[in-house]
Amino acid sequence: MTISSNRRHVFVTAVFLGLAVVASFLLTSNGHSALVLGLMTALFVIGVSVLRIPGLHTNHPVVARGALTVAALVATLIATYFLSATTNFNLATGAAMSIVLLGLSFLTGASGQISLGNSAFMGVGAFAMAIWANHHTTTPIVVSLLIAVIAGALVGLLLGLPATRLRGPYLAGMTLAFAVAFGAILASFNSWTGGDAGLQLPTAVTPPHWLTSLYQSGTSLLTTNTMWLADISIVATGVAFFFMGNLFASRTGRAMRLIRDNDVAAELVGVSLPRTRVIAFVISSAYAALGGALWTLINNSVSPSTYSFALSITILSLVVIGGIGTIPGALIGGLIYAYSSAVISWIVTQTGLKPQGNFASQMNGIIFGVLLIVVMLFAPMGISGAVLRAWRKRRSHLRG
């Protein structure tokens, strides 16, 4: 990088920083929120400007991923301030789901295994979170989320040990059996899991004081609370995606892709098949548990009926539709999940079906099932795969 281009880069960044600060003062109602918004926009501008440094992606990939995560995270966090409570709630739910999707996408994309037990692993996280919070009311959120993740990882390890020796269909069947058995597992520990009614969190999650003071006085609690929940969910998603991006590119990630493509060759070059498979399975379970724990936090309660086998199928559909084995695919799947119920009820009203009728209530299953089959048969890499291919084609076309 020459000095002049370096100088120009700094200059452009500074101009944008100035604009961001001015804009945040104009957009907001009081000095306090202007300060927070200004800081956040500044962070966004810095993140983007770091990303624009030439050669960064090849020389310091971790820094590049970090800057990308910070920029995307800050932009979304700013957006949550302006969004309605309903949208924020959907966003929070979808963000948590995208963590689960990323876990499964990683397991399948990186090591070629498939799990139908993600609903149960989500349930493990969701209940671990609720049980812990009920016994230790003062634990900070971050700690109880971590405990849920550890619980998910441990159960994943337990089921992953036999999984090391299994090939595709056997693992899918075994995890299916786990998902089907999960309800019975919960019922066996009634005194801990609260039976059919599930569990409530002892105290509702409320935003810290500095955040509530961003809003004009008189703003409803619902608005501030859902924004805070969406923010927690989004930050957790950012951390999870940043970690996964690095793992994908690491030595372990490469070993996993080699196993997926040719496990015999992988063993010949010294990759430990059982160890790598267990790691992939444990990470995917831990991600599912994190998603489930966030759902408990968002809903302030957990019910066993949420984590039925049907949820596993939804998770599989979303991963396949978004694009299996790709990082953007998990985000796309999460977004689809956040808005799927709204879209489906829109379809139901458009087609003039009776909302309480048989067809309307089965619309979800029909649409997801057909999409799952069609995508797998005609575009196995899903939306992100199709977009990527179209983009590459265009670029090579432009280059001639």
Partner: protein, 299 residues
Amino acid sequence: MDSFLTSRIVTDILSGLTNGVVYGLVALSLVLVWRSTRILNFAQGAMPMFATYLGMGLLSYHFGYWACVVISIAAGFAIGGVTERVLVRGLYGKPEINPIVVMVGFLIVLEAVAAAIWSTLPRGLPSPFSPIDWQIGGKPFAMSDFSVYEIVTALVVMTAVALLFRFTKLGLQLRAAALAPEVSRLLGVRVGRMLTLGWMLSTAVGTITTVLVASNFFTGLTPQVMDGIFAFGFIAAAVGGLDSPVGAIISGVVMGIILQFVGDFLNSNAIILVALAILIVSLMVRPNGIFTKSTARRV
């Protein structure tokens, strides 16, 4: 003697046997598909369910029970064949997960469409046999006309499949197409047709199973009637070995009996947990199943 026949242990063994033949049949239908096309069919419960709805729907048009059973089985053959030709044909040689995903998708579509057309309410079928237990010396003996119907039908189906594979030219062609497709093609076997036939047979066996399950007075026909049974059938097939029809049937029956004891002496929640434990332990000890001889895998 009478008190022995009505004792708790004999009761459990007999009820377990009745459940076990059903698991064995589901396992058998999974094995038939696995052997011919190397696909674990996750819609193996849903496809027969749909065929049963199609056949049994004619009950409202004053068809008799047996006529409806025959039509259901015919529908099963048809659904199996069409599915193989339309959905599965393009999946051979693709990565292992592709057929799994497609068949899971098919499972949801079939269940959702069935629920949309026929609702999720259980539909009772007019079973020709009484489900009430026989009496010995004033005490119930865990056998009824209906369970005899189940067990005899299962035995007939299993024997028919065994005879077909062992003693007919068609059976030989089916086995050849599954084991060595290239060689059989050179020798004049219509391999594609054999694969379709494998799926048709498997779905028909599944349909007979579903008819048995749904004819039970205490269950009835629902879109998800086979979900739980599919899980047990899969566990039986995996424990016995997806390559071994005999192994699948034996492990299905044994599992039925073990699980009946578990349900009786522990509690009903423990049934699926013990089944899961059996699956995990057996897969750790023998990943390819107890009854499978070779463990070699083509690279």
